[in-house]
Subunit: 454 residues, 2 copies
């Protein structure tokens, strides 16, 4: 049963246009930001209560930054914009004909119905396990803050397990971390994990030497960072070698189970016993894209994404925009600068319509380049007309990320933390969360005895 | 089946004394600190991997500080002390005759057996629900970091629920926070919660006004902060009144259920509908105290604690020390300064024995006074010979807490954060953790629909 309860709850909007934005990531937040000053009623709906700065998520997963530092509350971001309303809930239905969005919200007695004049869908992406969704049970996703906290607890927990284990294959497996996917996320996580093992945790154990931990970075591609210039790929590979990461391009994962992975490589099939497996191998559009394609009667693009017109609207529905990772736009990668640019463009089109100005024309993606950090003070920067590596690339990386972080408090906190880490050997966030561990299928198994008794 | 696996794992100790310390709280950590430089083998065992600075836990529960800022990893604290070994596990058996401790550890194939020459038990306390353990399902405990994260998610989640609710009794209940127990924890949490409602979250919602939230602080005692001087009690009560907290001394909780509390007060029985209930009403000794009393054949003291001799050892077992909240020592309250002093004293006795020095004599508790902060810049300080309130007490409170925090990184981070909060209106940690929420019985119910679909 769906109710129109919503209508009773919003302040009377009079003749103001109603804009519903689905998703509070880079794309959605930018749309709201750009339109917040116009006389419109904006509803931003997200499954969480925060805007996640995904490029630094691996630093939460490895204990360098705290959750709040990369995830300001969406409400706080739009506190001063009286025309913006934030809802924590999950969109589960679209009615393009009647221009309404249906959403589940924890607090509502019923499904909410949100009528719109303009709809912006920016629901991002989910992990793609190449059709093997059962792998998700063992290969940890790293998309949300809950994921990052679980990975942190699992990584630190693996060392705890190993410390109490006899030397042998089981202990070796507990000290093996497999990271599937050698894009920026996989490369950055591997590098940080190496710093954790070699620098941060050194001298903290008595039976094991954390620097003996094995970090394996696997990908079917020919070289790490496949979208980068070959010279930078080689440089990143060498930097990872220096950090002790076992880098294996041209290795495809063919099986994932409780104790490790099966891998096909140039030398045939092999087995990697690994206590911790992190998945950063690829993404696909979320379930909402199915619903949208079905409702609109269109075919889905690559990775299940939604093909859009050159102004980012849905074919036959100029009032519906699809932006960010969910949109399939020729030549535009699924990265945060693209999501931001698409958000700005969608907002321009919407504002032009509202104000009766001329249409701003088709979306043009400006490739500002890519940055990936490797370990502590090394990075690669692939900027059009400029290729950097080492410390200069690292400094550029740090500046760009600080610039895009939301809020001065978070910027100052993050840079302070990074400066501190140049000298100190500790990590700020080393808490193993039992809640986080026990919500995880594999650990549930392992920790059952402990938890049953507590 | 118990194995002696442990013996194979520790480095050969030769003739060095083996000291096992159970619990990494204020008492246990202090013992290890004091003895770490001596030629002994120390094993510190704790259920978690961190030392929790409990006096600031309520600041994590209200989003002011991050988890890591008040919880350094135990391993990191003793990294440089080669004679100290840290184990994450739970003690579940004591054999005083054979001088061994049995523990469950997540990683071990079997129960660990730890032989000792000296045993220090500092396992702290758990919440006491006055014999109504079923209340724990609805009245949230605030003893661990997992607890604090759950409370933070519940508090912020309550506003999300209320924002989508029609005006009426259900919404009022969602915006009611009941805190049971008006000791320092309850008073400090109430004050911070008021700051959250009136200052931090102001203007963030569109249907509700968070400053209309009701914070009820209940306790059976005659006045808040029962251990303080009456003048300071009255001052604290007035400060809480000013902050809009509904303070109700002389109110006993007689029932707790899914939707609220039943309370007996001077005017008879009443009902408080509350979406969030936090329990800070009292503590008792943990299950390990039962085991210890049974094994040693002694009667337990008040709140199930263990009576000890004047040098903090167990009757008939001079090699076993019981310190901190678990020890029942005449005239010594269950507060962190007492735990620290007991830790120092136990270490002195142990060191004197090892070095053949004379026994340092009985433990003497030095009451350094008490401090409780109320809201933003108000506090009460009840120091022997000195009673302060308002800003001077607040400054003293801040100094003392910074001094006792472990690690310069955490001190600098915390003071920076507090200074920032004087001016900025945001909270650093506002993330609602779904993992945390859904591990909670009540929220499971409420969020079932959302979660089932995700």
């Amino acid at each position: 049963m769906r109710s129109m309860l919503w209508n009773h709850r919003v302040r009377p909007s009079g003749d103001r246009d109603r804009i519903v934005v689905v998703g509070g990531g880079f794309a959605g937040v930018r749309v709201v930001n750009e339109l917040a000053r116009l006389p419109v009623d904006i509803t931003l709906i997200d499954r969480t209560n925060h805007h996640l700065f995904q490029p630094l998520l691996y630093q939460v997963a490895t204990g360098e930054l705290s959750e709040g530092q990369i995830a300001p509350a969406l409400r706080g971001m739009f506190r001063g914009d009286a025309g913006v309303r934030v809802i924590m809930g999950e969109v589960d239905g679209l009615d393009l004909e009647h221009r309404t969005v249906h959403a589940f919200c924890a607090g509502a007695d019923d499904t909410l119905t949100l009528p719109y004049d303009t709809l912006v869908i920016a629901a991002g992406s989910v992990d793609s396990y190449f059709g093997h969704d059962d792998w998700a049970e063992w290969a940890l996703s790293m998309k949300t803050l809950d994921d990052a906290q679980r990975i942190r607890s699992r990584i630190l927990g693996a060392f705890e397990l190993a410390e109490l284990e006899q030397p042998g294959p089981k202990r070796d497996a507990q000290l093996t971390f497999a990271i599937v996917g050698a894009g920026p996320t996989g490369v950055e996580l591997s590098g940080q994990l190496s710093v954790l093992c070699h620098r941060i945790l050194r001298d903290e154990y008595r039976s094991i030497d954390p620097s003996q931990a094995r970090i394996v970075l696997l990908d079917a591609v020919d070289e790490v960072l496949p979208s980068y210039h070959p010279a930078l790929q080689r440089r990143a590979h060498r930097d990872l070698d220096d950090l002790g990461v076992d880098v294996r391009p041209r290795h495809s994962v063919v099986g994932v189970d409780e104790t490790g992975l099966d891998v096909d490589g140039p030398d045939g099939r092999s087995r990697i016993e690994a206590g911790t497996i992190v998945w950063s191998a690829g993404v696909r559009a979320p379930a909402l894209a199915d619903e949208l394609a079905r409702t609109a009667g269109i075919a889905r693009g690559k990775s299940g994404r939604i093909p859009v017109a050159e102004d980012l609207t849905l074919a036959g529905h100029p009032e519906v925009f699809v932006i960010g990772d969910m949109a399939d736009v020729e030549g535009v990668p699924g990265v945060s600068p693209a999501a931001i640019q698409e958000g700005v463009h969608a907002a321009k089109v919407i504002a032009a319509r509202l104000q009766g100005h001329s249409h701003p024309g088709p979306f043009r993606y400006l490739d500002k380049g890519s940055l990936a950090v490797i370990g502590r003070q090394r990075a690669v920067a692939d900027i059009p007309g400029l290729r950097l590596a080492g410390l200069p690339a690292f400094l550029l990386w740090a500046l760009v990320h600080l610039y895009y972080l939301v809020g001065w408090g978070n910027r100052i906190g993050t840079i302070t933390r990074w400066m501190w880490s140049l000298f100190a050997r500790n990590r700020r966030e080393q808490v193993i969360s039992m809640t986080s561990l026990t919500s995880d299928a594999e650990s549930k198994l392992r920790l059952r005895r402990v938890v049953d008794r507590s």
